[in-house]
């Protein structure tokens, strides 16, 4: 079964998956990239995502869940449209990452892995994101912001709110 008849993914992604599964000596090698791409498109690994990926790779859903749950960057619940990932590893921590993190919590009024009521933001602590030289750093979806102080937090949030408005109500998930 190379092509799914009814896919929950966009036609582009479905085509990409069709190609991906033929690329490796064993199909299941495509699992991790597929999970990542699926999450980028759908927002999280919903039951439907897991079912379809399992089907595409000839795995059990249990297999897919087992692999997915290993990686902390894969999630099973929807995140906000802008997922704020605050690095709290050693360099960032020494340079005030927790103050930064607390400030985000206060501003957004959400806890770890929580999402705001409007679905715009979610917040999590992450391990080193490779921006140590510019610590403390955060990653919002795929954008980096570095050498931050808590004072810069409201500005960052306002910036994303503005962006969201500009893009209209086109919803992420």
């Amino acid at each position: 079964m190379s092509t799914e008849t009814i896919s929950i993914f966009s036609p582009e992604l479905a085509t990409r998956f069709d190609a991906l599964v033929t690329k490796y000596p064993v199909k299941r090698s495509a699992l991790v990239p597929m999970l990542l791409y699926a999450q980028d498109e759908i927002g999280y690994l919903s039951d439907a995502v897991i079912t379809e990926i399992a089907h595409r790779l000839g795995l059990t859903e249990l297999d897919v869940r087992n692999v997915a749950s290993y990686y902390s960057m894969l999630r099973f619940k929807p995140a906000g449209r802008y997922n704020i990932q605050v690095c709290t590893n050693i360099c960032c921590m020494l340079r005030g990452a927790y103050d930064l993190y607390e400030r985000f919590r206060e501003e957004l009024n959400i806890g770890p892995h929580g999402a705001t009521a409007d679905g715009l933001f979610s917040l999590e602590e992450v391990e080193c994101i490779g921006a140590c030289s510019w610590a403390p750093a955060i990653q919002v979806n795929y954008d980096f912001h570095d050498e931050l102080t808590p004072d810069l937090v409201p500005g960052i949030l306002a910036d994303y709110r503005g962006r969201a408005q500009a893009e209209g109500s086109k919803n992420h998930a």
């Binding site: 087992n66 749950s69 290993y70």
Partner: protein, 778 residues
């Protein structure tokens, strides 16, 4: 692989090159501790308990993945290794709860043993333990997360061994847990949709996986452990029953494979492992019942019930003749009981009207193989046969142990499994080739193979040695043609599948109207000519006995069977019949009886049973149910109540042997004991009781063709081979056998009438039905 020589702890050992060090050591009696290593499963190397030092290798090596080669030198015990193992144990204990005093595994826990051996009584970890609540995954399987040491044995046995793949590992590092395959509310698995075999529970080295039927009930050392044979399907797995005293006899609290000594090793299916609770079912009969003047069954004493039944049987026999009495035997009682039953019918009741509920055509099988000894295959041989042809049936459901053996053979030895079936079955996943047959097209199989047209038949014809496994789809002439096909070829052997624990034994012991034990025709009784009063003409079959058109019988004795539930039976046939039933429960048949005797189950008596492959094993009495008696004893007492000389029926206390049962005094003290020791050593133990089934086993060995048993092996608890009719000329018939066969088609959680009283199995079945309904709705 050529043998290589290597040194372990200064000892020179030899093993084939490539053998795992841990296995080579075990064979030589050097034990290397292990948690994740399990023979027959893939290697995991996760626990690091098996670390050993190999000379010239800088780091300690895992013995479970090191293969032996010429000249290697290993050390398995040294202060360094002890320290390493102690450290591993300490890591495992880092998050392990200290609940050994209440844990099911306490007393038989591998982690407990290792901690005891290597110390690690103190921990350097100050972190708080991560507690997580216990989960119930199904009625059979519970999981206590903090106790898990992540050895992955359960995951592998379920996937590789059972081919179910219901278990996996979720999360990472210290957060890792084993999860079942049905996700719950929060994404993580929390329910099982599987075959509920309980293999994962038994293979768990600690108390992380526990069983619904046993958990928190008792401790291992408070039970007696008795190895006997499973009472459900016809594969005959050895099962160890854990038994505890209770106020109405004793209670079976656990079924497992404690000593792994049977041919099933560590395998048991849900029925063998959990299907023992019928013995304690509240509806269990514990007193005889007599129909009173008002027409109702009421409790009676054994004396009264026996007197009434005996008198009536005698009266019918003497006034109307033995031909008006019928006897229906059981697929679950022992060989000795079946033998005794037919002997009782033929010599005491003077009738050949004896039959049983046939689930397959063993008579045709025996007849087709007559004169060709050595052509049947035992269940032990399945996991090493190079090629197997499986025709019809669905062993995964109906013969779970056979299915396990087949999978094991394919997995470990790359055996070639060929499947011909009219419907898809799960074992096809292991098959090299499959062939769809039209339903009802089985009888043409031999011709189809001979034609050699398809890839399937070509592959079969190219096999140099083959075991053909088939079942009730073949009856009468179809059995004959398939066997004739195999006999033409040099290395073809057969196994024939029936249902229930001793259906093969029932057939072998002559529960047929026209065949004596060993399929000897009643018309040419051969060794059985010594039976007094043996009627010369064949009797009635089961449907004939229960056929109104036949005018009804004067009396009918039913032992451990429930024939009135059969489709063709019209209850009017029993209107004027005096019905005597021996059973565990008030079944539909027992409810119609005039006298009901409460019978002991297979777990409450001794004797032997023969599985469908012809492997004979000893059944040992595990528990006791006050009030019930073994069918053997009931029959002997019934004969006694009829005024018969019991000694003619059961050859007990024969010959010049006079034992004083330890009562002698003075100079002769102990003489009898010494004598008994000598007799026993020579396989001649004195049968002192008329209720001793082994007295009848002696007679079976003496008279029944094909039952020349390897006593030494049998008595030590092993399975021994029997042969069907090895020398008889092919004259057997079992009148119209084909139409009499009603296969049970039991599933993994059903066991015909008996299954209804296995509450645990019923719960499991309800759970599985629910899981499937939900899966279908999604």
């Amino acid at each position: 692989m050529p043998d290589v020589t290597f040194t372990v702890d200064g000892k020179k050992l030899t093993a084939p090159a490539g053998t795992l060090l841990i296995e080579a050591c075990r064979k030589a009696g050097i034990e290397i501790p292990s948690f994740c290593y399990y023979p027959g499963l893939s290697l995991q190397a996760a626990c690091r308990m098996c670390l050993v030092r190999q000379e010239k290798v800088p780091k300690l090596q895992t013995a479970c993945t090191t293969t032996v080669a010429e000249g290697q030198i290993f050390t398995t015990e040294s202060p360094e290794i002890t320290q390493a193992r102690k450290a591993m144990t300490e890591l495992l204990l880092g998050n392990h709860p200290l609940d050994c005093p209440v844990c099911d595994a306490g007393g038989e826990c591998e982690l407990q043993d290792m901690t005891f051996k290597y110390g690690a009584g103190e921990s350097l970890y100050a972190e708080t333990k991560q507690h997580r609540n216990e989960q119930q995954w199904s009625p059979a399987v519970f999981y206590d997360r903090p106790r898990c040491i992540l050895c992955y044995r359960c995951v592998r046995v379920c996937g590789e061994g059972m081919d179910v793949w219901a278990l996996g590992v979720e999360n990472r590092g210290v957060h890792s847990v084993i999860v079942p395959n049905v996700p719950g509310e929060n994404g993580g698995g929390d329910q099982l949709d599987c075959e509920e075999c309980g293999m994962c529970i038994d293979i768990c080295p600690v108390g992380a996986l526990t069983s619904g039927s046993y958990r928190y009930k008792t401790r291992p050392w408070e039970m007696n452990h008795v190895s006997t044979v499973c009472t459900h399907c016809a594969d005959g797995c050895k099962v160890t029953l854990g038994v505890r005293q209770s106020n109405n006899g004793s209670e079976i609290v656990r079924g497992d494979n404690r000593d792994k000594s049977g041919m099933n090793g560590d395998f048991l299916c849900a029925k063998g492992r959990f299907g023992f609770d019928f013995v304690n079912h509240p509806e269990r009969l514990t007193t005889p019942l007599l129909r009173n003047a008002a027409g109702e069954l009421e409790p009676a004493t054994w004396e009264d019930a026996l007197r009434v039944a005996g008198a009536r049987l005698k009266e019918v026999r003497d006034s109307r003749g033995g031909a008006t009495i019928g006897v229906i035997g059981s697929n679950r009682t022992t060989n000795e009981e079946n033998y005794l039953l037919q002997k009782f019918a033929r010599t005491v009741l003077a009738t050949n009207n004896i039959d049983h509920e046939r689930t397959t055509d063993y008579a045709a099988f025996a007849c087709a193989l007559a004169g060709h000894p050595g052509k049947t295959a035992g269940l032990r041989e399945i996991p090493s046969a190079p090629a197997i042809l499986l025709v019809g049936g669905n062993p995964t459901d109906e013969h779970p142990f056979l299915a396990w053996q087949l999978r094991t053979n394919v997995r470990l030895n790359k055996a070639r499994l060929y499947i011909a079936n009219s419907r898809p079955i799960k074992l096809e996943r292991q098959a090299k080739l499959t062939q769809e047959l039209p339903p009802g097209g089985y009888w043409r199989l031999a011709a189809f193979l001979d034609a050699g047209q398809s890839d399937f038949s070509k592959a079969i014809l190219a096999e140099e040695s083959l075991i053909v496994i088939f079942g009730e789809e073949f009856r009468g002439p179809a059995v004959e043609s398939l066997i004739a096909w195999g006999l033409k070829r040099a290395n073809v052997r057969f196994a024939y599948l029936g249902d229930h624990a001793n259906s093969h034994g029932a057939a072998d012991m002559g529960l047929f109207p026209d065949l004596l034990p060993g399929y000897v025709p009643v018309t040419a009784p051969g060794p059985f000519a010594e039976y007094p009063n043996l009627p010369a003409a064949p009797g009635k079959t089961l449907p004939q006995m229960l056929d109104v058109a036949n005018g009804g019988l004067g009396a009918l004795l039913v032992v451990g069977a429930n024939p009135v539930t059969r489709r063709e039976v019209d209850l009017a046939a029993l209107q004027n019949t005096f019905l005597i039933v021996q059973d565990l429960f008030l079944t539909e048949t027992a409810a119609l009886a005039h006298v009901v005797f409460p019978a002991a189950s297979l777990y409450e008596k001794s004797g032997t049973v023969t599985n469908t492959f012809g492997d004979l094993q000893m059944v040992r009495k595990a528990s006791d149910r006050a009030g019930a008696k073994p069918d053997f004893e009931i029959l002997v007492r019934l004969a006694g109540a009829m005024g018969e000389e019991v000694k003619k029926l059961v050859p007990f206390g024969r010959g010049a042997m006079t034992a004083d049962l330890g009562q002698s005094r003075g100079a002769q003290a102990g003489e009898a004991d010494r004598h008994a020791v000598w007799l026993e050593a020579n396989g001649l133990e004195p049968r002192l009781s008329p209720f001793d089934p082994f007295a009848v086993l002696d007679e079976i060995e003496r008279l029944v063709p094909g039952y020349k048993l390897d006593r030494m092996n049998l008595m030590t608890g092993n399975d021994v081979r029997t042969e069907v009719a090895p020398t008889q000329p092919a004259t057997a018939s079992a009148i119209g056998g084909e139409d009499l066969i009603v296969p049970a088609h039991d599933t993994l959680f059903t066991s015909s009438t008996l299954g209804r009283y296995c509450s645990g199995l019923n719960e499991i079945e309800a759970h599985q039905t629910r899981e499937h309904a939900e899966a279908a709705a999604d």
